[in-house]
Symmetry: C2
Subunit: 333 residues, 2 copies
């Protein structure tokens, strides 16, 4: 295992300590339980936005805490869901008196933790709602999931719900917005290589040098099928067509397109994929109105990519364009 780490069991703790010193102007960090919250949380008279999952998907979710996006985020150990205790701590810090939206990705442990932690927060008098993002079209159920897994749509949901909260919208409105985003987003990924979980020390799965996994999950869960390596254009077509036909996206739709690297894929390759994705969308009469290209929803050091398309209306475009200042996503501030 070749990694820039110390003791494998300390990776997340030391990552959090790094975040604390790197972004002290932006966030405050707790190591027990783990969470990251805005430095000035809770912010009065604004709906709070919280998300969380396992670590190993950086910048998900700690990189998205800051003005215009999340109020707090709680991630567990590597590929291990956050605990209810973490959720409760975040909900308390995110509550400025107008309630909190918990945005969960659809993995069984994540959802259960948000349910229990959210109930505990409600018992303390905090108005809590939850939306579960389930946008991965690859498989219906998976190793750690009942129903579709959560993927790139969560990033968009966190951004636009953060913007809507800044605008003063109430919890019911933002919850409805988040549900709409989930309804309108679809994703699918593929892996060229496995990732290696630090405490395991060896690849999660074996993938022969001439094969790839289509529809892989963000923890290396099996996808739809394995096949021989193909050129980027064919891979892009497989992912894009699966995503487009699922919603389905239609001629005249405006979309947000995310071409996402899984952590070990360099940017040069993601632009090769984006080029073909844009061509495919154009062929369908689908207009990419906004995009994002980079390693944003990762699986440690896995090589591969995922594609997310998400239908846009004018409100969503305005909310996406609104100022944001986080470690991983920033503009207008």
């Amino acid at each position: 295992m070749k990694k820039l780490i110390n003791k494998p069991e300390n990776v997340v703790k030391e990552e959090m300590m790094g975040i604390a010193v790197a972004h002290a102007d932006l966030v405050k960090v707790s190591l027990d339980p783990y969470y990251v919250a805005r430095v000035n949380a809770p912010i009065k008279d604004k709906v709070g936005i919280v998300s969380g999952t396992g670590s190993g998907h950086e910048p998900v979710d700690y990189g998205f805490v800051g003005p215009g996006m999340l109020d707090a985020a709680c991630d567990g150990e590597v590929f291990t869901c956050q605990t209810p205790e973490q959720v409760l701590a975040c909900d308390r810090l995110a509550n400025g008196g107008r309630g909190v939206l918990n945005i969960a990705k659809n993995f069984s442990g994540d959802v259960m933790s948000f349910e229990i932690g959210g109930e505990q927060a409600q018992a303390e008098g905090i108005d809590v709602s939850m939306v579960v993002i389930a946008d991965d079209v690859a498989v219906e159920n998976s190793t750690w999931t009942q129903g579709r897994r959560g993927l790139g749509t969560a990033l968009f949901a966190e951004k636009v719900c953060g913007a809507a909260a800044d605008q003063g919208r109430d919890l019911a409105q933002i919850t409805a917005l988040c549900k709409k985003v989930n309804d309108w987003g679809r994703s699918m990924g593929m892996a060229l290589t496995s990732c290696t979980v630090p405490v395991k020390g060896s690849p999660t799965f074996d993938l022969p040098e001439d094969q790839m996994e289509i529809g892989v999950g963000v923890h290396g869960e099996p996808g739809r099928y394995r096949m021989d390596l193909k050129p980027a254009d064919e891979i892009t077509k497989i992912l894009a067509e699966a995503v487009i036909t699922d919603l389905p996206f239609k001629k005249g739709d405006k979309v947000w397109a995310l071409v996402n690297g899984l952590g070990g894929t360099p940017l040069i390759e993601l632009y090769v994929v984006y080029r073909k994705l844009a061509e495919i969308c154009e062929g369908h009469g689908i207009a990419i109105a906004r995009n994002l290209i980079g390693n944003y929803v990762t699986s440690l050091d896995m090589a591969g990519c995922s594609i997310t398309l998400l239908k846009l209306d004018d409100d969503l475009i305005k909310l996406w364009d609104a100022p944001v200042k986080t470690a991983a996503l920033r503009w207008g501030m």
Copy 2:
């Protein structure tokens, strides 16, 4: 070779086509010769800022074209320097009547191309100056270099010179600024794995599973020495102490710190490195006033990192903080 590419010889062309459709609001792209320029270039009455090198180091340099940073960038094929023809095309597009600063990284081919291309631009009446960034302390000469190689300091130079140009400073002032940045920045990198150049199809160098290369170059050039794998804290100490003692950085210095991934290293590991770097700097009485953490100066899919420290004064801090809007670096706009 597991990569998201089509024909290996088309990678850069298809990357450029991807950039063209992805960032059409920001840049215009030429495929013959390759370059990326601001969509509204040339911008009148502003000094133009140009950089370039080989491809394979993304987001260097195309990802840094836009308001507040570069006017144009020209990169060659993978790990192949840009041509004088590309430099000339960029200098023409960057010239708004007050001249152009060409920022070169110190690799022999890069520098020669900027010299010849710059001379051709001057023959056309464009006022051109050049600064060569040579901040890599690992080795004095290397496979493709006379003198120190150019590394992370180039990114900072491009950002602050772009900001200075926006403020209306003249070419002589911005050239002096760029030289000061080069004098004040020091870097060193290390590799856990080799990269694989697409047209070669196999790793550039062999690095046993239990070894790493300290002081590696961005094309996989040999560094200072090989050694057994060490924990991240020890690696960070080796890089940081080499950088700190070289300038040397002193107690009371304010610095910009870049913890840079080489393309195949996930963000979680870079924060582990940053944590230790911050501790080491604190131990020396060096204050990190600004930082950047991510995969910014890459070597295709190489796993590893580099560290850059750069002495700051109030002017450099203000120029770093000034608004910028590029594909890879953005704030305030």
